[in-house]
């Protein structure tokens, strides 16, 4: 057939490559959109083959062992490098996407300031995804702007703004938690336009308001009024 390395997509999806070839293919995959797309489709096929395997059911003890493993590991913070080694294709090279899973454009927001590292951004996005997926979270309406504030039981919060234009050149958006009359910065963020999902990095106490202002790039120590968005008190 002579399609060369592209043809290895099938062998890769079937786990039928030898180790050296597997590595070569994974390097290729990083840069080849055609193969990435094809692999997505082939993995659905091998997933179907798994269903057709027709093996016996596991013993109930297996479930308990798996949960015991998880418990023993406690909170797992695995560095990105080792994730890649475990499972390069599906692992995250960049911060994305548990959030994409629930259909939300969290990746559209790039966090700056003290959150400006891949790992911190990844954690923030995971947390945001979990807050938004939490059926016990409460939704607080906005008193200014259009959107909502979602607050999970532990105070973790995500501000969802329906339509936030990109900040003007040289400016940034900055989130604030205002408790009483004291505003505390909750970090700066950018918007790509459209819906913006803003994870709030600190717990939002009862009665506090979350607000967003436009500030000079780099952020400010006190908010410039009026805010472009503000929640009702939590």
């Amino acid at each position: 057939m002579g399609t060369g390395i592209h043809e290895l997509t099938a062998g890769y999806a079937l786990d039928a490559l030898d180790p050296a070839e597997r590595e070569e293919y994974e390097r290729h995959l990083d840069t080849c959109e055609q193969c990435q797309e094809e692999l997505v489709a082939f993995l659905e096929v091998t997933g179907a083959l798994a269903i057709a395997a027709d093996g016996p059911a596991p013993s109930p003890a297996l479930r308990e062992r798996i949960l015991a493993d998880a418990r023993a590991e406690q909170q797992n913070v695995v560095p990105l490098e080792s994730r890649r080694r475990h499972f390069p294709v599906l692992a995250a090279a960049t911060a994305v996407a548990a959030a994409v899973a629930i259909g939300l454009g969290i990746y559209a927001v790039s966090l700056n300031n003290d959150l400006d590292s891949t790992k911190a951004a990844l954690t923030a996005q995971e947390n945001a995804a979990a807050v938004l997926a939490d059926p016990a979270a409460t939704t607080v309406a906005l008193q200014a702007g259009s959107g909502r504030l979602v607050v999970a039981a532990e105070g973790d919060a995500v501000l969802v703004l329906d339509d936030l234009a990109p900040a003007p050149a040289g400016k940034t958006y900055q989130a604030w938690i205002v408790e009483g009359t004291t505003p505390v910065s909750a970090g700066t963020f950018a918007s790509a336009g459209g819906q913006a999902i803003v994870p709030i990095p600190q717990a939002v106490p009862d009665g506090a308001v979350v607000a967003v202002t436009v500030e000079e790039a780099g952020g400010a120590s006190t908010p410039s009024l009026p805010p472009v968005a503000a929640s009702k008190p939590v």
Binding site: D18, A41, A50, L67
Partner: protein, 197 residues
């Protein structure tokens, strides 16, 4: 502990697992574990090894859930891919592979799934097995020996006495054809049986 997880998608559960939510991991196992173990057993032909493969794969899910990318695969597919890779690694180490179908007795061993699960799994299994039967024999053989037998392409070339390029082409054409055969109604069948509401 099991809050209201039943209504969440597999992908949302993975997002919770990324946050070290044990209940979400349990729910994922309840949805995917049956197929995962069946697959591992088909490859490994051994209870203990199959359990090891599934256990290690779910530990991988627990550790790497944050790296899951929904645009690359469904969550269930991702988990089964981890299980399969682990099973293949083990079978190559143990040198115990065979790709023959399992006999009735083995297949029916173990705890039975709920009637609803069994019905859905049975339906899906028949659909995929039907598609496999429509492949040319040479393509089906290459795919079954690789996926269920754990043979690499170069091992298969040697075993069947064929050029490596031929094996590669058969696998590629076979998977591409299966994709067409399954594609027609694949969209509507989400992984899991519809939950009752």
């Amino acid at each position: 502990m099991r809050r209201h997880l039943a209504h969440l998608s597999d992908e949302a559960l993975v997002a919770l697992v990324a946050r070290a939510d044990e209940g979400a991991l349990a729910e994922l196992y309840d949805r995917v574990g049956r197929v995962a173990y069946g697959l591992a057993f088909r490859v490994l032909r051994d209870d203990r090894l199959a359990e090891d493969a599934v256990q290690e794969a779910f530990l991988g899910v627990w550790r790497t859930a944050a790296g899951f990318r929904a645009e690359r695969a469904k969550a269930s597919t991702w988990i089964l891919t981890l299980v399969h890779r682990r099973a293949v690694d083990l079978v190559r180490r143990e040198e115990r592979r065979r790709a023959d179908p399992l006999d009735e007795e083995t297949r029916d061993a173990g705890a039975s799934p709920s009637a609803e699960d069994a019905a859905w799994l049975g339906f899906e299994r028949e659909r995929v097995q039907g598609a496999l039967k429509q492949l040319p024999d040479t393509q089906r053989e290459a795919i079954e020996l690789a996926y269920y037998g754990g043979y690499s392409q170069s091992e298969l070339a040697e075993r069947l006495g064929l050029p490596l390029g031929t094996i590669k082409s058969r696998m590629f054409s076979g998977l591409a054809r299966l994709r067409e055969l399954l594609g027609d109604d694949a969209e509507e069948g989400s992984w899991e049986p519809e939950s009752t509401n």
